[in-house]
């Protein structure tokens, strides 16, 4: 069954060569935000997945190759949108700063 893990933790047992990984950390004033939600939207703006950040502010998606928007929601902050491009065998890493 679907072994959902909190994003940004172990990739044990995952063949990263076959995955298009988008991952990163959400920060506020340089500090990780462990209470944020990162939403993965496809090129048409359609919601595809959502990950709560880990205690260290991290998140991870297994996307498909292409362009995506990451919409980040955090307490007391306006949503932040970031465009990313994912590719198979690549880990696309980014830091998302919320206000």
């Amino acid at each position: 069954m679907c072994g959902a893990t909190r994003a940004g933790v172990s990739t044990d047992g995952v063949d990263l060569a076959t995955e298009a990984v988008v991952q990163g950390v959400v920060t506020r004033d340089g500090e990780p935000v462990g209470t944020a939600y990162v939403r993965l939207l496809d090129a048409s703006g359609e919601f595809t997945a959502e990950a709560p950040t880990s205690a260290t502010g991290q998140f991870r998606f297994f996307a498909r190759p292409g362009t995506w928007t990451l919409r980040t929601l955090a307490p007391g902050a306006e949503p932040v949108d970031e465009q990313v491009t994912a590719a198979i065998g690549m880990i696309t890493e980014l830091e998302i700063r919320v206000g």
Partner: protein, 278 residues
């Protein structure tokens, strides 16, 4: 039933935090979220360990469900309020499950854990122990659960609603994008299914859209609300969320959740599959 019978907001929950007859239950996709913190007084149900048979691919049986609720301190006449992350995805699945076994008074916290957290409401780490109860479940209500033969017979006859993301529907992904890609043998969707991603029923903060917006959403995607409906996804959780919308919020009488969903259909020999976008 109406929206106010099945859905409560955060203010309602805060006003009932000390009400012994109201049991808060956190059901999360990320089953460790509860360990970090949770709404005060909430107990946890682990959708993988507690709600699924650990050997066969099926749900826990009536006796096991009774034992689970008794152990968690939930009585037959308690009001159960379910909440979780990711737009109440797994909380909605648990809601459907409670209804499957006949619990009368069960509700969802609108927006779930996400809205609660984004509103910076109180979350506490203390583990909750409620006194054990004696719980009596009903036989499964097969009126809300569909199996594969019924789904095959529904092609072209009933509404089939595929609530996965467009990429999963088209066959470009086999699982949601925050999970490793695995499971079914073949990608695609069941012929004649409309693709209405479950998430379109919710706002960004996880609350449900209005009844009017929801009715428009399904009508515009070709769902004939005068017909019976079967919803499916990959493993039956996201489609439980859509079942909640159609059956509980929009009060459609004959809506079933096909919990076998794509991991079963995409691995069956001899059933029709379509590829491509809707």
């Amino acid at each position: 039933m109406s929206r106010s019978d099945v859905l409560v907001d955060a203010d309602w929950v805060e006003a009932h935090l000390d009400d012994d007859k109201v049991v808060l239950v956190e059901v999360d996709e990320d089953t460790s979220a509860y360990d970090k913190n949770h709404i005060r007084g909430a107990v946890r149900i682990d959708w993988k360990k507690d709600l699924q048979d650990q050997v066969r691919r099926d749900f826990v049986n009536k006796n096991q469900f009774e034992a689970l609720l008794a152990q968690r301190g939930i009585g037959n006449d308690d009001t159960v309020v379910l909440y979780g992350g990711n737009n109440n995805w797994f909380a909605a699945y648990a809601y459907w499950y409670f209804k499957l076994y006949g619990h009368q008074d069960v509700k969802l916290l609108d927006g779930g854990r996400k809205k609660w957290e984004l509103d910076s409401r109180e979350l506490v780490p203390e583990i909750v122990e409620r006194p054990a109860t004696t719980y009596a479940a009903s036989e499964q209500d097969r009126g809300i659960r569909a199996f594969r033969d019924e789904v095959e017979a529904a092609i072209g006859q009933k509404n089939l609603v595929d609530v996965r993301s467009p990429d999963e529907f088209a066959g470009r992904l086999l699982a949601p994008a925050h999970l490793p890609q695995e499971q079914a043998q073949r990608p695609g969707h069941i012929p004649t299914a409309a693709n209405i991603p479950w998430s379109q029923a919710a706002n960004d903060d996880g609350t449900f859209k209005t009844d009017d917006d929801l009715t428009t959403l399904y009508r515009d995607k070709g769902v004939d609300l005068s017909k019976d409906t079967i919803a499916y996804c990959r493993i039956g959780e996201r489609s439980a969320h859509t079942w909640f919308v159609l059956h509980e919020l929009l009060e459609q009488p004959n809506v079933k959740n096909y919990d076998g969903s794509w991991t079963e259909w995409g691995s069956l020999v001899g059933v029709p599959i379509e590829l491509g976008d809707s």
